[in-house]
């Protein structure tokens, strides 16, 4: 019996164009062990995960090294042999359950596919086994659940069904590819608990891929840190978290340090209110999205708006800038009431509030040069042209920490962080008093995000800007925001100084949010789950 389920030696993967994606990576996973792979995008973690199944995406090639699964070398095994092992000895859990289920077939058909296709079970046996799995994973009505189509069940249920699909062939090792990245913190906990349960109950080994060190610390026995396709550091969970050797790992560990606040109250001019939103209501058709939302932002202040997806965070931003008209209530900017519709607002009103979007890829026109993108608002609002405009562009680029020669480049040649800097420069070009940042860092890797946050704080200090900062990342809020507003289903649950909002006594929802943020310690998840079970146990007698 081989003690290693998976053994990868000197793995090299190249793109068809010849760039190296993974360079000389070694790893082993013992029976029942969980190895976490962590790194930023482009680190090669997903490529390694797929390579462990002997699979390379279109455009990639495995060019060197050995991949041994259960003692069989996948690269020399041939296509047919590799396929026999997929699903039966090693199975894959993807990031998005809704995208990984075929919309044309029932869930049962897809969960039974591995055992039936590989001849492990008859269809009847596979069905009985699937119902068993549905039951043990806590799906409602396990006997009937499989008859549903993927669109007929909730996202959380589909996530469970995907787990059932992966373990249906009784594999020895599972590959989890960022299974919680797209989820809210509150949902993330449930999925993490589910993954722990699967690993524990079925005794499978796992390769857990993520960019979030705090998340992987909850499930992994050992962690491997990757960067640019190479191994940076490998060690046990405790060692990586408490005594990282490499600088890069140290940066990753420090990233979640919420006690280190980036802002001080000294620069906030509480006397001078920049924005005042008063009992705003808004709806899409007959569906109400904001109910009596009121807030104020002072000069030099950052107000964070937090809540899970669907809570109305982005709608609030759209109402403030006038892209979506409120049904009642008022928005006052620098003591002047703004028209609900941005088309009826004067140019100076529009100039004062600028927006930085979540995805710089989408919000920057790929056909324009950076100079054009930044120069347009400067020309439109500031009336600059010629040499003055050129000077302004250079100045703006310098302000956001980009070299002068970027003015002639196009967005396609920039990295995600650089693009977001351009977005910020574009907002600054209008010379605004308030910038609304709609999750500006959620599409970025942790360390790049950190740099963007530091840039925003520096600009605030230098220019006296106010920010309305929309995010679902409470770690950012605690470091960045003077005050915080918690939004739940369009209603303000709590608003006040960040420290007060997040210290007891808290609103139950705020408490749930703050508990859901993974901490940089290994036993955090167990603690939260235990505390929850404890609370339910205490509440039940009173309910009965």
């Amino acid at each position: 019996m081989n003690e290693h389920v998976l053994k990868i030696r000197n793995l090299r993967i190249e793109s068809v164009a010849g760039t190296t994606l993974v360079d000389g990576v070694d790893l082993t996973v013992a029976r029942g062990e969980v190895l976490g792979l962590i790194g930023e995008s482009g680190a090669g973690k997903s490529t390694i995960g797929l390579a462990s199944m002997g699979y390379a995406r279109a455009g990639c090639r495995i060019v060197g090294g050995t991949i041994e699964l259960e003692g069989k070398e996948l690269r020399s095994l041939g296509a047919e042999g590799r396929r026999d092992l997929r699903g039966t000895r090693i199975a894959y859990v993807a990031q998005s359950a809704s995208a990984s289920f075929n919309p044309a077939h029932t869930i049962m058909r897809q969960v039974c596919e591995i055992p039936v296709y590989h001849g492990l079970m008859t269809r009847a046996q596979a069905k009985a086994h699937a119902i068993e799995l549905f039951r043990s994973l806590g799906l409602p009505e396990p006997e009937k659940f499989g008859e549903k189509y993927p669109h007929e069940v909730s996202g959380g249920q589909l996530q469970r069904a995907m787990a059932a699909m992966a373990i249906a062939g009784k594999p020895d090792i599972l590959v989890f590819d960022e299974p919680t990245t797209a989820l809210d913190v509150t949902t993330q906990i449930e999925v993490l608990a589910l993954i722990k349960k699967i690993i524990w109950e079925f005794g499978t080994a796992a390769l857990y891929i993520t960019h979030d060190l705090a998340v992987v610390a909850q499930v992994a026995d050992r962690i491997m840190v990757l960067r640019g396709g190479r191994t940076v550091e490998m060690g046990t969970c405790e060692q990586i978290l408490s005594a990282p050797v490499e600088d890069y790992t140290r940066l990753l560990v420090a990233e979640r340090d919420v006690h280190h606040s980036l802002v001080s109250d000294a620069l906030v001019d509480a006397e001078k209110t920049v924005l005042e939103v008063d009992r705003v209501n808004a709806a899409y058709g007959s569906i109400s999205i904001l109910q009596d939302v009121s807030l104020t932002i002072a000069k030099g202040e950052t107000l964070a708006v937090v809540g899970e997806s669907g809570s109305g965070k982005s709608s609030l931003a759209r109402v403030i800038v006038g892209l979506h008209s409120a049904t009642s209530g008022s928005v006052r900017f620098e003591k002047k009431t703004l028209d609900p519709n941005c088309r009826n607002r004067s140019r100076t009103d529009q100039q004062g509030i600028q927006l930085v979007h979540q995805h710089p890829d989408v919000s920057l026109n790929p056909r324009q040069t950076i100079g054009n993108i930044i120069g347009r608002p400067a020309r439109f609002y500031g009336g600059l042209s010629g040499r003055a405009l050129k000077q302004k562009i250079t100045e703006l680029l310098k302000m956001v920490g980009l070299p002068e020669n970027f003015a002639v480049r196009k967005p396609g040649t920039l990295s995600g962080g650089q693009k977001q800097r351009v977005s910020i420069a574009r907002a600054l070009a209008a010379n605004p008093a308030l910038i609304i940042c709609d999750e500006p860092t959620s599409a970025l890797d942790p360390l790049v995000a950190q740099e963007i946050l530091e840039l925003l704080v520096r600009l605030q200090r230098e220019l006296g800007l106010s920010y309305l900062f929309i995010t679902h990342d409470l770690g950012i809020v605690q470091r960045l925001a003077h005050r915080t507003l918690v939004l739940l289903k369009g209603e303000v649950v709590s608003i006040g100084a960040t420290r007060e909002v997040f210290s007891p006594p808290m609103h139950p929802y705020t408490q749930k949010l703050i508990e859901s943020v993974p901490a940089m310690k290994t036993n955090w998840l167990d603690g939260v789950l235990a505390a929850r079970a404890d609370r339910t146990a205490r509440e039940e007698p009173t309910a009965a």
Binding site: L50, M53, Y55, R57, R83, D84, L85, R86, G87, T88, A91, Y92, A94, S96, A99, S100, F101, N102, P103, A104, H105, E113, I114, Y117, H118, Y149, H151, E152, M165
Partner: protein, 323 residues
């Protein structure tokens, strides 16, 4: 299951109503278009030399002197009762001569479709499975060639080789009512081959690209990672999701087979509806032209409605909504 029936029945009812509405609009267009044509049946039948008096008398006899709106109302009332009016040239009821010819057209189209549709979809899937390999390239080049050649050219080439040089099949596809089924198949074989060559290429290319466009979906990668063969992935996971575009292109080609065969019918002197209509146009037999046009429009609407209903019926997301 009740829900499934309800959604489908509602959809069918909706489509039928819409179809009738479309046909009504088409009837107005057809009538208006034939009314603004220069000259009318009276001048056409009587010829250039007729005196104004005879033309006037003939017009009154045909009822052409009445206002257009009245004539339209009469015509529509007749159509609703299945009466397409009387041919100006033969003085026979149009319905009597249109129906057998329409049947002939349907026979030709049906024969061609029965071979072309499975052939096109099958080859399209094979091309998709072997993307980039020899089979795929050959299918691509041949189908591109077939699309580029005009249909009458294909028809004359077929006649030249199979009828004139080899003498295997007749040059003219003459059919008559008393003819046996297999004789019919035999004489129509050349026009059917010509039709197949034209429509297969289009459907093949659409099937291939519809299947390939689904392959970038994450659930396809998931199917590969479950250890399925490429063939199984395409047949079981890609094809069901590519069905909607395939169905609509098949419908388009079926409608073309019925409506667009005019050229082929004329080349092979096949007594179908298209040839009849071309004939009527040259004789200025406007009621016949109107009748044929309406029949073609009805076919087009019916085939497309059928395709829409089928697309919904096979899509679980539309068939079974969450509630």
């Amino acid at each position: 299951m009740r829900l499934f029936k309800n959604v489908i029945t509602r959809m069918i009812l909706e489509r039928v109503m819409l179809g009738i509405l479309t046909l009504f609009a088409v009837s107005v267009l057809i009538f208006a278009a034939t009314s603004i044509l220069p000259g009318d049946a009276a001048t056409a039948v009587l010829g250039q030399g007729a005196t104004p008096e005879t033309v006037k008398a003939y017009r009154e006899e045909l009822g052409l002197d009445r206002p257009a709106i009245v004539r339209y109302g009469d015509w529509l009332a007749g159509v609703v009762q299945g009466d397409l009016g009387t041919s100006l040239t033969t003085r026979q009821p149009i319905s009597d001569s249109v129906i057998p010819r329409f049947e002939n057209t349907l026979f030709l189209a049906g024969f061609a479709a029965l071979i072309a549709v499975p052939l096109a979809i099958g080859l399209g899937i094979i091309a998709a499975i072997n993307e980039g390999r020899l089979v795929d390239r050959v299918a691509n080049i041949v189908s591109l060639g077939a699309i580029s050649v005009p249909e009458f050219f294909v028809a004359y080439l077929l006649i030249l080789f199979f009828a004139v040089k080899l003498g295997l099949f007749p040059t003219l596809a003459t059919v008559f009512p008393e003819m046996g089924f297999f004789d019919r198949l035999y004489v129509t074989i050349l026009p059917v081959i010509a039709l197949i060559m034209i429509v297969t290429a289009h459907m093949l290319r659409m099937t291939r690209s519809a299947v390939l466009s689904v392959l970038s979906q994450p659930y396809i990668e998931m199917a590969f990672l479950k250890g399925l063969r490429r063939r199984s992935v395409i047949m079981q996971h890609a094809l069901p999701n590519a069905a909607a575009p395939i169905i609509s292109v098949v419908a388009l080609n079926l409608a073309y087979l019925i409506v667009g065969v005019v050229v082929i019918e004329v080349v092979f002197v096949y007594p179908g509806l298209g040839q009849y209509m071309v004939d009527a146009v040259s004789k200025r037999d406007l009621p016949v032209v109107q009748g044929c046009a309406l029949l073609f429009a009805a076919t087009f609407v019916a085939v497309n409605a059928l395709a829409d209903i089928l697309s919904v019926a096979i899509n679980p997301r539309l068939r079974r909504s969450r509630h």
